[in-house]
Amino acid sequence: MRRIVTATVNNQSGVLNRVTGLLSKRQFNIESITVGYTEKEGISKMTFVVNVDDDQKIEQLIKQLNKQIDVLKVSDITDQAIVARELALIKVLSNGQVRNEIGGIVEPFRASIIDVSRDSVTVQVTGDSAKIEAIIDLLRPYGIKELARTGITAFTRGSQKSVTELKQYSLLK
């Protein structure tokens, strides 16, 4: 199961080490981690994407994270209405001829070309993981020179009313 877990943490030195060390010590398989400041001074937010075998494992992960003194709150938000986004930078081989074709792919994804050189273009795309995967698939035939993804950052939507409805459209899980 792929789960998205967020943790609010004290922005102390070593906190990232604490959390990642804990996850590896207990054999959790981390797909991505993002960390950044929040609206509150001294408080950061982490978003993990983890792969676990069953509910018992995810429960254990959340409890172990909660035990950390510098971890203030942990939530598995996978089944809630969430906004989850990641950003990818994709450097694609392109000469003048195919540049237009690439432009044609980029546009419907509301991605943008942010750097152009003689033999490549760099595409920046944001969205949920499925969208990122989709554009990568479409660009792959042109030859991807370099790819960098940030991993997902996420939080719950302002309104949780129509959870079930929203879930159907969720591309995650």
């Binding site: 943490v9 004290n10 030195s13 070593g14 080490n17 604490r18 060390g21 804990l22 010590k25 018992q56 429960e59 254990q60 409890k63 172990q64 909660n66 035990k67 950390q68 003194i69 510098d70 971890v71 203030l72």
Partner: protein, 571 residues
């Protein structure tokens, strides 16, 4: 003029060095004794200690210091406090920190560190103490400003001693110890990320009470959480009222009287037949302050297969970790047991079950083949029990002697049993006895050790010599790494690879070299005589007990086997 006016308005606070602040902060925490070893990075701290003394035990190795602190903490319930220098001083503590983490012992450990301006440069005696200890501590700190010391020390003691106890490391760079600050000692602890639950949810308590009324075959598994929660007495009342048999984990021994009719003995790999079969056959398992370690459960497939499981633990992460739990109760053990007792409910209808288990106790007790000529190790433990009337504090190392002590020294009282359970640390037993003796100078403390493990930390004999601490070191000398030898006999067709140690120091003369009386005994009669003479006197002693070398610890659940698949049960 102005200065004087200020002094009257508020008492003029002197500026203090970080090291002075640390020692003062320890006094604010009522620390009675420090276990430590000096070195470059803690020189300022030792200098402050010289001027503002707290009793300090200078062990001969940092590992000795931290195991002594563990022994002190285990029997006294107070935090054990350790100081070591940076680099090798700190890394010498690692085994003890990991041990305390596994067995939930409250320790506060202060390590020196190189000065902040050279951290990260591989400076002389630098080691990444934060990195090394993060996975084996409840929490750790590196002090970056001397002004933070009072708060950090207060938080460290708070974290170490509350909730599920554990070790906390405070790493102090040398320049921080030397820098000056205007300390404030009166700040409250404010840790929003640390709010342990100590009160049980009443709905869950009701649910458990109903489950007890409905159950025909209930059993209580009591672990060290009962001891940490000071709940032995509550447990006794509750078990008697509800008529529920009780078994212990290795670390929970002493939380229930060893001679009580409801007591089944220890459970687990070397547990009694009655205890393990009770866990196997029960219909309701009430685990209190135990964490379902694999040495306790055996193969999880066969662990309490028929039972509704109720798990009371102060650490929510232990609940459901290894065993599926129907009634989870996050709480301090004492609070939960008292709430259970207050809650209305009829006792279990357990007459048949208790009679059934009594049958197991009678038909399949712990046993060994008696041999009058030889000194049997099991008998040795019984002799220690007899000569201390079951009232001694017993510390052990790890191996066969540890299991025999757990099986045959029937503890009557809580907090008299000190052993390394989770980490299984050889070298623990003897220094732990020193710590226990310092906590209770007037009690008989027996450090029961193997001839192997004793040689890992025996240099601490000099502490006994220096302080004339009346610790009774009893070496169960089977001239082998007995537990390793037993496994090689059982699972490796008697290929005794590096487990026999016929060449040994003369332990009697070794003791004498430290100015301590030494004895060697080879028969029951000799052992009894020496125990009679030494167990209750006020001197340290080392007794080299030459026991029959080929005895094995039974019964046993082989690795991978279930609770009901014990071997070596009394025929």
């Amino acid at each position: 003029m102005r200065a004087k006016v200020r002094a009257e308005a508020e008492p003029l606070r002197e500026t203090m060095s970080g090291a002075d602040v640390l020692i003062q902060a320890l006094k604010e925490e009522n620390v009675e004794v420090l276990f430590g070893y000096p070195g470059g990075a803690v020189l300022p701290i030792y200098d402050s200690l010289y001027k503002n003394p707290i009793k300090h035990i200078l062990t001969k190795h940092e590992q000795g210091a931290i195991h002594a602190a563990e022994g002190y903490a285990r029997v006294s319930g107070k935090p054990g406090v350790v100081i070591a220098t940076s680099g090798p001083g700190a890394t010498n503590l690692v085994t003890g920190i990991a041990d305390a983490m596994m067995d939930s012992l409250p320790l506060v450990i202060f390590t020196g560190q190189v000065a902040t301006n050279v951290i990260g440069t591989d400076a002389f005696q630098e080691s990444d103490v934060m990195g090394i200890t993060t996975p084996i501590t409840k929490h750790n700190y590196q002090v970056r400003d001397a002004g933070d010391l009072p708060r950090i020390v207060k938080e460290a003691f708070h974290i170490a001693t509350t909730g599920r106890p554990g070790p906390v490391v405070v790493d102090i760079p040398k320049d921080i110890s030397n820098s000056f600050t205007d300390p404030k000692f009166d700040e409250e602890v404010n840790l929003p990320g640390y709010q342990p639950t100590t009160q049980p949810n009443i709905l869950q308590i009701k649910k458990l009470k109903e489950a007890i009324s409905e159950s025909k075959k209930p059993v209580i598994l009591a672990g060290a959480g009962v001891l940490h929660g000071n709940a032995s007495h509550d447990l006794l009342t509750f078990a008697e009222e509800m008529k529920i048999p009780v078994t212990n984990t290795l670390l929970g021994l002493g939380s229930f009287p060893g001679d009580h009719p409801l007591f089944l003995g220890m459970a687990g790999m070397h547990g009694t037949y009655a205890a393990n079969m009770a866990l196997y056959e029960c219909d309701l398992l009430i685990s209190i302050g135990a964490r379902f370690d694999d040495r306790l459960t055996g193969n999880l497939k066969h662990f309490a297969p028929e039972a509704t499981v109720a798990h009371i633990d102060i650490d929510p992460a232990e609940i459901g970790k290894n065993v599926k739990t129907e009634i989870p109760i996050v709480s301090d053990a004492g609070e939960a047991i008292r709430k259970l007792s207050e809650q209305n409910g009829t006792p279990a209808e357990s007459e048949q079950w208790r009679a059934h288990l009594s049958g197991y106790k009678k038909d399949y007790p712990l046993w060994y083949k008696e041999e009058k000529e030889k000194l049997l190790p099991q008998r040795l433990v019984e002799l220690i029990h007899e000569h201390t009337e079951g009232e001694a504090i017993v510390t052990t190392d790890v191996g066969q002697h540890q299991m025999w002590a757990a099986q045959y020294y029937q503890f009557k009282n809580p907090n008299r049993w000190v052993t390394s359970g989770g980490l299984g640390t050889m070298g623990f037993g003897f220094p732990a006895a020193i710590g226990a003796q310092l906590a209770f100078p007037d009690k008989t403390v027996v450090g029961l050790v193997g001839d192997g493990g004793f040689q890992m930390t025996l240099q601490e004999l000099s502490v006994l010599q220096e302080l004339n601490l009346p610790v009774k070191v009893v070496i169960l000398n089977n001239q082998s790494l007995g537990m390793v030898r037993q496994w090689q006999e059982t699972f490796y067709e008697e290929r005794y690879s590096h487990s026999l140690i016929p060449v040994q120091p003369d332990f009697v003369r070794l003791a004498e070299a430290y100015g301590i009386k030494g004895y060697k005994v080879s028969s029951e009669k000799e052992a009894a005589e020496v125990f009679k003479e030494t167990m209750n006197n006020e001197e340290p002693v080392v007794i080299d007990c030459r026991v029959c070398g080929l005895e094995n610890v039974f019964p046993m659940i082989a690795p991978g086997k279930g609770l009901h698949e014990m071997i070596g049960v009394k025929p």
